[in-house]
């Protein structure tokens, strides 16, 4: 091999080792095919946008030191969630932000410190590369804010029409600090139920963003990582139970908790934090804010003695300024959530059956 050949070989080898770059403007089937195109997609988008110190590219799995995990607590929390939403982008967020914050919050409500996330992507052939890039960038921003690392992932491409643009699965691992005991069965009579702010913003934002209503509004999703606020809470007060408020809204969470703990619960309708715009929208459509989805809300149950300190901590936090005491537990009517209508009457607050469908009149 003469010098020229050697230089040529070096040039080729250098090129082979360069990070790949996607040249197509849309996702094609080859991007999921396992070959060079997939490598390019992963290099360019996944590593390029999501990459951080924790992202493992050379191996098929992320590896953690048990010792390092054990420094945070004595139990692991592990969860998974899959995100499908139309449209992909909406006021205040997008599917990527949801996919990170949703899994972070699912971990956090156990009292855990969320640490690591996986990212599984199902891409529909024809999805614009720029769309994917925007979503991944948003995931990275959300992960950085929440203080978690995306450490492993997977990408599949399905033929056009076999998926709706982009689905994301994220799984997460966190560690529960020693002594933190948060359970759905943990509610006792006289316990107090708090929520960290306005109800129904995400559901309302999506309804408007779909454009079917021909309504305009400034309502944005409430998608937010709650692990920071929750970490402060579990350190300072006795938290009996926590659950993030997502699909099914507040009504679903309260009913699940009341049933799990076999306590009754009385909700004060006048104390429920609801934005004027959301109240107006739901009134118009015959829906109820307590049935609309949220992506940055958590129900926190504390003993009565801890209400004041808990509210103080929550209200001091960026994602808890509108926190409120909304309900009390009682021994009567176990498993049933009732609403004090604020009008002197009382009624049952039931879980929503089926999808929220607008009433005819």
């Amino acid at each position: 091999m003469n010098g020229d050949d050697q230089r040529l070989m070096q040039r080729i080898e250098k090129h082979r080792r360069r990070l790949g770059k996607v040249r197509e403007s849309v996702v094609v089937l080859a991007h999921g095919g396992g070959g060079k195109a997939m490598r390019d997609l992963i290099d360019d988008l996944v590593v390029g946008e999501l990459g951080g110190e924790g992202l493992v590219v050379d191996e098929d799995q992320a590896r953690f030191s048990l010792g390092a995990l054990a420094a945070h607590g004595d139990r692991l929390a592990f969860t998974t969630d899959t995100y499908v939403v139309t449209p992909l982008f909406f006021p205040g967020g997008d599917i990527g932000k949801l996919a990170v914050n949703g899994t972070v919050n699912d971990l956090a409500v156990s009292g855990a410190k969320p640490l690591y996330l996986s990212c599984g992507l199902v891409l529909e052939e024809g999805l614009p590369i720029e769309t994917l890039r925007r979503v991944l960038r948003s995931m990275k921003l959300a992960a950085d804010e929440a203080g978690v690392q995306i450490v492993t992932g997977d990408t599949k491409v399905v033929p056009r029409g076999k998926a709706d643009q982009l689905f994301i699965n994220t799984s997460g691992v966190g560690v529960i600090p020693k002594g933190v005991e948060v359970h759905a069965q943990g509610l006792r009579p006289d316990d107090c139920v708090l929520v960290n702010g306005y109800l129904g913003d995400h559901g309302a934002a999506i309804l408007v963003a779909r454009g079917e209503l021909k309504l305009e509004s400034d309502i944005a999703t409430d998608s937010a990582p709650l692990n920071g606020m929750i970490a402060e809470l579990v350190k300072a007060v006795e938290v009996r139970a926590m659950r993030d408020v997502t699909r099914g809204g507040l009504a679903a969470v309260l009913n699940e908790l009341a049933l799990s703990s076999e306590v009754g619960m009385v909700v004060d309708a006048s104390a429920l934090p609801v934005r004027r715009e959301v109240a107006g929208l739901t009134e118009l459509l015959g829906l109820d804010p307590v049935h609309l989805a949220n992506e940055g809300k958590v129900v926190v149950v504390v003993p009565a003695k801890d209400v004041e300190p808990a509210l103080r901590i929550m209200r001091a936090h960026r994602y808890g300024q509108e926190s409120a005491l909304i309900a009390r537990c009682r021994a009567e009517s176990p498993g049933i959530v009732t609403l004090d209508t604020g009008f002197g009457g009382e009624r049952i607050l039931e879980m929503l059956v089926g999808e929220p469908l607008p009433r005819i009149c």
Binding site: T341, G344, G345, V353, R359, C361
Partner: protein, 379 residues
């Protein structure tokens, strides 16, 4: 919210409730022999349960939930007809949200959708017309439902389709009218009512005059009412005042929206597009003459029933279902054998359980808490 919050102010309710208590006492009626007042409209039923109004009223006053939920009174046969249209090729079937869960004899529109029928939820008939414009090679069938509240918007949409020549827009009309129904109700056996809370939204269109016969011929007080809790309570107070005075007149509590003569433009649109059917079937109430509306011959090209053959088979309600008696106020929801057991909002057998405005669903969701209020109203 302006025009909403002030009618939900609990302070305002205290005085009215005291008046109601006083007036009921004057009638000498007791829990064993209560005054019975029917709210005709599903919207009122919804408000009564949402705000827990029944639990605030004296025991000697019972609210009877009437047949005013258009989704609830749709007979099984018409749901089957809707399904037969929805599963046709090249058809987009557009429906209000709460109608797509109503069970027919062969399933619901929601199930048909899951099996591949193109069923869309719309918020108004004009959404359906827009679908028709966007899909010129398909027929878009709008599932027309409701009393005079929704008839004008369907009529105006048909007129717009005619003006713009959108010939792939069709209406499957199940529109119904209030007056013949009220008369049938008043003529039915074993129904003893002391007065009516009249439907506010319907009255925005038809005004208050068409109810005069209720007072004149049947000597029953009738108060057209708004939908906020204070509206309903105030209307009940007005009814009680009439009963105590021995009067029977038609009064309008909902003056902020209802004009005595209704809405001329809306009435003209209805008159132009629709005509009464000879007879129309109601779930639970049977056939009522002139109670349904169909498109006039001049607009037959927009009539789904003129375009496609529908089975039009009258299907009896499931044997165990007592929706009919519930709709007439003859029995209370919880007195039905299947209430809360086989028939729940998840597995509705009868239509009263399907729509959240239905008396059974409203009771299941909002009312089952307080057994004492239940016992006291069983007559």
């Amino acid at each position: 919210m302006k025009y909403v919050d002030e009618f939900r102010n609990p302070k305002g309710g205290k005085g009215i409730l005291a008046d109601i208590e006083r007036l009921v006492a004057k009638t000498g009626r007791t829990a064993k022999n209560p005054l019975k007042v029917m709210e005709i409209c599903g919207g009122h039923t919804h408000a009564i349960f949402k705000f827990g109004l029944q639990s605030m009223l004296p025991e000697a006053l019972e609210l009877v939930h009437g047949p005013g939920c258009p989704v609830c009174v749709l007979p099984v046969g018409r749901v089957d007809d809707a399904l037969s249209l929805a599963v046709r090729p090249n058809v987009i079937f557009a429906s209000f949200g709460d109608a797509i869960r109503v069970p027919g004899s062969k399933g619901s529109l929601l199930e048909a959708k899951a099996e591949g029928a193109d069923v869309r939820t719309v918020y108004s008939p004009s959404d359906a017309l827009e679908l028709a414009r966007q899909n010129p090679n398909q027929k878009v069938i709008f599932f027309g439902l409701g009393f005079e509240t929704t008839v004008p918007s369907t009529a105006l949409t048909v007129l717009e389709a005619a003006r713009d020549g959108v010939d792939n827009f069709l209406v499957f009309s199940n529109h119904i009218t209030i007056v013949p129904t009220l008369r049938a109700l008043l003529d039915s056996d074993g129904l003893h009512l002391d007065g009516f809370v009249g439907p506010g939204h319907v009255s925005m269109v038809i005004g208050v005059r068409p109810y005069d016969f209720v007072a004149a011929e049947y000597k029953k007080p009738f108060v057209v009412s708004g939908f906020e809790p204070l509206d309903v309570l105030q209307s009940v107070r007005m009814l009680l005042a009439q009963i105590v005075d021995g009067r029977a007149t038609v009064e309008n509590q909902y003056r902020r929206l209802v004009k005595d003569d209704g809405n001329r433009v809306a009435l003209e649109a209805i008159q132009e597009v629709f005509e009464p059917r000879a007879t129309f079937e109601w779930r639970g109430l049977g056939s009522i003459e002139h109670s349904g509306l169909q498109l006039r011959a001049a607009y037959a090209r927009f009539d789904a029933e003129a375009h496609f053959k529908v089975p039009s088979v009258s299907v009896p309600d499931p044997g165990v279902c007592e929706c009919g008696d519930v709709l007439k106020g003859a029995i209370k929801p919880w007195e039905c054998k299947v209430f809360g057991t086989a028939c729940t909002p998840e597995t509705p057998i009868g239509a009263c359980m399907v729509s959240s405005e239905g008396a059974c669903a409203a009771h299941y969701n909002y009312g089952r808490l307080n057994p004492s209020s239940r016992l006291r109203t069983v007559s």
